[in-house]
Assembly symmetry: C2
Homo-oligomer: 708 residues x 2
């Protein structure tokens, strides 16, 4: 259902409602922009004019002589509702509302936006905006935006930006760097058309090979995630989102019309979908430039060529710091480079050609070629500093060598230039940019971008290698779990008993400890003797959620002490919470191993997530937690375990054996299935899940239900 997309980006006809012949007016700028390059039918709409810039003007869109694909509305906000009515009457497919004065300015504006939206929905008009900058289809010559002038054709990056002003600043920066765009869309308040629909359209758009999203809010989070995941399978997608910090969320809420979703769920969604998360608009452009113009790096090993030793070392440091490697070159590659250099220069990595400028072209060219031919290097970064950057012949040698290796010889490795020279280098810089070789100023940005791209490439390869299958839950699990939840629901309970949580997990295939609910000391002693070892005693009450806090848990109790401890627990709990209805005391086997925590939560926009962390200080002090939206593939669940910093504890460190990762993944899977199947589970907290060399056991658990 991408009819809106074709109507918006490839319209056969455009009506400009609010067109004007008066210089300086928005309707004038838009008219100019449209007639500048747009090859289709253009109808200025203005009841007070008969002709604008040589085009006959019409009083209303209904009066246009042919059906309108795209209506561009640039009127005072008060007039927009009527204009939308006209669009509906005229059968316009898409209305792009540039005007501000809607939800972003308060209640009155929000009501106006709602009225306009309802008319659009009823009339079958898709609404883009309001309060947006407009759109471009550069290759068509279409500029339906407030920005002056037509960008050059032939670009392959598309940009979707919620922020008008900042989005246009990003676009300006990119143009300054000789980047070309395919399509640009600013969707402002997103009253109707939303991110996932735009994603769906641009995922299929052959002219878009890299997609940048600059977002302030996300609506329809789950649909966004699913569209993003589909689109990311087809092309690199770079996402930046503001409002990720708490203060930023507050600021965003006071700025944009939409609510800002939770940052954790958003970040999880972007990563899980396989898109690149950029920290800022600037980083988004840097990464998009690398991805759109150069091959994806086959690995993270960087080869550096420099005419300044100090800069080479700094770039090496920064590459390593951001997770790249700058390996020694093999003797064979060194032998290839050595004859090019003066005797005292280093053929190691970085290759330091020294200030011997007369030989720059041969030294740079030859070293780059050797690195392209070598199996040691995945990414080639020439540093061009002062003279080596200003010397035309050298820049040509760098450019031509890279192009020859990539295009003629088909070696798929990227080159990024680290550029250290002032404004006087503009011309030579453009020689590289125009040849599709990205130029980054100073080592830090170069290293950061290369690292982000290498991480993306690696994640893509890892993703391709992961099992993408989603397992099916055990037969009967749903029915068993439904019964347990129905029982709690019948009792109007919002908290599940520990035992019920365990039964839910067991139904979905997780292991739980052997345990028995006992109502008398004698029964407890008998159960403890049957277990054979010291055991755990835990109070069971629908009124008690945090059992330890009321003295309701005792660990490591020998069978002969069980009756005394049984009475002690009852006495303590009754003293601390006299009103609690106590069902008995559960006697459980002790399980040994590494403590982990598996949790579940439900984001308002993105739906259910599972979380994983190691027990003890890892979650509580270090906040060392990984997340996935569910449903998630087995591969994603496995990756969750590897993502936490404490992962080495699971694979065997300090003489401990490796734990049973398979069993742990199964327990995560059980939690994920539960969250997926039962929307009434709003929180799940399996703490601890104890995992040893053989098996993982859910030793305790809580769940909170919504009453709906």
């Amino acid at each position: 259902m991408n009819k809106w997309g074709d109507a918006a980006f490839n319209p056969r006809s455009i009506a400009l409602i609010g067109a004007s012949g008066q210089t300086g007016k928005l309707g004038y700028i838009l008219m100019q922009n449209l007639q500048d390059g747009y090859p289709g039918l253009l109808y200025p709409i203005n009841p007070r004019e008969v002709e604008i810039m040589g085009h006959p003007a019409y009083p209303r869109i209904q009066d246009a002589p042919a059906p309108v694909d795209l209506a561009v509305i640039a009127l005072p906000p008060e007039s927009c509702v009527q204009a939308m009515r006209d669009c509906a009457a005229a059968g316009a497919k898409v209305a792009l509302v540039l005007s501000g004065g809607f939800a972003e300015v308060g209640a009155e504006g929000a009501a106006r936006q709602q009225a306009m939206l309802e008319i659009a929905l009823q009339g079958g008009v898709r609404l883009i905006g309001p309060n947006c900058f407009g759109l471009y289809n550069c290759n068509l010559g279409l500029n339906a935006s407030m920005g002056l002038g037509l960008p050059p054709k032939g670009g392959n990056i598309s940009l979707v930006t919620q922020s008008g002003a900042y989005g246009m600043a990003i676009f300006g920066l990119a143009r300054q760097r000789h980047l070309r765009f395919a399509k640009i869309l600013s969707h402002g308040n997103k009253a109707d058309l939303s991110d996932h629909e735009i994603l769906d359209y641009l995922a299929d758009d052959d002219e878009t090979s890299v997609l940048c999203l600059f977002l302030e809010s996300v609506s329809h989070g789950r649909a966004f995630f699913e569209s993003l995941a589909r689109a990311a399978q087809r092309k690199p997608i770079v996402v930046a989102k503001t409002g990720r910090s708490r203060a930023g969320q507050r600021a965003a809420a006071s700025h944009t019309a939409a609510l800002t979703g939770d940052a954790t769920a958003f970040i999880t969604a972007v990563r899980q979908a396989g898109a690149v998360l950029a920290e800022s608009g600037l980083e988004m452009v840097d990464i998009a430039e690398a991805l759109s113009r150069q091959p994806i790096p086959p690995g993270r090993r960087v080869g550096i060529i420099t005419n300044s030793g100090g800069t080479g070392v700094e770039l090496t440091d920064l590459c390593e710091r951001f997770g790249l490697n700058v390996p020694e070159l093999s003797p064979a590659v060194q032998a290839q480079i050595t004859p090019l250099l003066p005797t005292y220069a280093s053929p190691r990595n970085p290759v330091d050609v020294t200030p011997l400028w007369a030989r720059f072209p041969a030294m740079y060219g030859g070293s780059i070629e050797a690195m392209y031919e070598s199996d040691d290097i995945d990414i080639v970064i020439p540093i061009l500093l002062q003279r080596s950057a200003l010397m035309r012949e050298n820049v040509e040698a760098v450019r031509d060598t890279v192009l020859r290796c990539q295009r003629e010889r088909g070696i798929a490795k990227p080159t990024y230039i680290c550029w250290v020279v002032g404004n006087e280098g503009e011309q030579t810089q453009a020689m590289l940019q125009d040849a599709g070789i990205p130029v980054y100023e100073w080592p830090e940005r170069t290293a950061r971008t290369a690292a982000a791209v290498a991480a993306y490439a690696e994640a893509r390869r890892a993703r391709a290698a992961l099992p993408t299958t989603r397992e099916t839950p055990p037969a009967g699990a749903y029915e068993t779990a439904s019964a347990i939840l129905a029982h709690a629901h019948a009792q109007q309970r919002t908290i599940l008993l520990e035992n019920e949580v365990k039964q839910l997990l067991a139904a979905y295939g997780a292991r739980i400890p052997r345990e028995t609910l006992c109502t008398s000391p004698d029964e407890a002693v008998a159960v403890a003797r049957a277990l054979g070892n010291p055991c755990v005693l835990k109070i069971v009450s629908p009124d008690i959620s945090h059992k330890s806090d009321v003295g309701g848990v005792r660990v490591g109790i020998a069978p002969e002490q069980v009756d005394t401890v049984f009475e002690e627990i009852l006495a303590t709990v009754q003293a601390k919470q006299p009103s609690a209805h106590i069902l008995g005391i559960s006697v459980q086997e002790v399980v040994r191993g590494q403590e982990t925590i598996i949790g579940g939560l439900r984001d308002a926009e993105f739906g259910p997530l599972v979380m994983f962390g190691l027990g003890g200080v890892f979650v509580e002090v270090l906040h060392d937690i990984s997340y996935r939206l569910v449903p998630a593939s087995t591969g994603e669940l496995q990756a969750m375990l590897r993502e936490v910093r404490g992962y080495p504890l699971l694979t065997g460190v300090r003489g401990q054996p490796a734990v049973d990762l398979h069993a742990l993944t199964n327990t995560l899977q059980a939690a994920a299935w539960l969250l997926d199947a039962f929307p009434q589970i709003s929180e799940l907290d399996l703490n601890p899940v104890i995992v040893g060399a053989e098996g993982a056991v859910v030793a305790d658990g809580r769940a909170i239900l919504s009453l709906s």
Copy 2:
């Protein structure tokens, strides 16, 4: 002893050895640079000329008509040794050797450098370089460097750069940003004059108010640290050093003539000295600009004014991410700003003035003023994006408001501009820069710089509040420890027994567990009974360093089991290490509490360091460790505890009580004293040191001695 400094930077006379009248030659460029602005006596030295650029030339420096303060040598490397001989003969105070071809080009060059150095040392000439770019004293008009042209006067930043080319690129960047310098020195191979001497000179230099150091290597690490600490008390010092990663160290070793010191010791030294550590040359300039032109921020609360909501939110996110706060403005401040804005704009933080450009000057100016007057805000960051940056009246309003608040009203808060516009903004940008208001492009760099400066300011305040006293060791500690070490030395041992390590620490005031060395099972049982609780048994042998690895440690042994376990330990150890000489088994009390690790090591350049970390996974898996060079003040030792990520475990988390931080600091202090007093201790490993609510106990320890 700063005679070299005055001779180098304020020479009464300069001889240029290798002066030339031939365009393009280095001796020509230097001659031009020197006669361009240098007001003192200038003697070109060239045996083949009688006059150069209007100055009489002399065949040798000895032939100059007056004593020479500064000899600048620009000759082929082969001729430099003789030139240095001449300098010594002429009594030149300083020789600045620009020529390359010395230690950086291999063994032959190194020999040449050594020969030149020896002549300089014998002749009382201080040698700067060789293989360096030269020096500037901008306010004097002195350019004794390879760089063309004379920088403007009136600057207050000085730059010391080991890297010639990169240093000059940094200098060029800074000039492009209208920054002015006081003094610049490139010292290349640092054959003689080294970092700490330069630090000493520039610390006292009244024209230098901020000092930048760009280093590739550090020699005389301890002296460097001490000079840095002294200098940092007087002015902000920003340090960048390449070769911090392992690959970077390898690259540095192949590039510079000096060895690269260990990054841990270097980083510790810079922080402990109170200097700012920059991650790159670019970040160094960014931070120096902020520190040299604006007041130091009184706190980390940022106020933002923006004409683009999206950019405001992004900057907020990035500020928070780098550790700054963007708080809500108080109702009073909001009430002050609200009347300036359109009704729908947000007076919260960020203050979003919306695209209403006609009112930019009033809205920006008024909001800035309100933030200067408010107690809620420490740092004011106006975002100038597109139109707000290009509009001259608005840039004037921003500039004039900041200057009025700072200069006329004396409000000591910094303003940094976040600048989001293309090259077309050069002129308005310069208006701000020339008024001393730093401009940073795009949000990321702005936030990063503000955060670095705020962290510096906070560390400076914290440092001022810390006890700077260094405690004195307990009486008799040195004698007791000396005796223990002498005993081990007499036996030619390089490993101390656990018991000896504990006695060393006890001598310096640390607590150790009650323990007795037992040679028979019966004796062990008696000791265990006296301790009263389950105890620890540990093998004691000078040949066994890692006792657990050979089954030599058993924990939690009840008195009645002690005889059996005693025999078991002996049997296991004898089986695993039959040749070990066993002195007995130590029976020790069990100590409970949080496990920590205190260590000591000795860096070749920087001398002894203490380290601290929490036990378990913190050190081994998370590498969560803090370091200090010793001796260190009590305040520094206290700060070490707070620096580790796991610090919350010490202050009470998860229902645990806070531990005895005072006792832990005392144990760190004992280790520090030991390392300081006894250079023969090359490694110290107190693991674990167990700390509870009352007291800290060194439960186990190892030490390695050097045999010298």
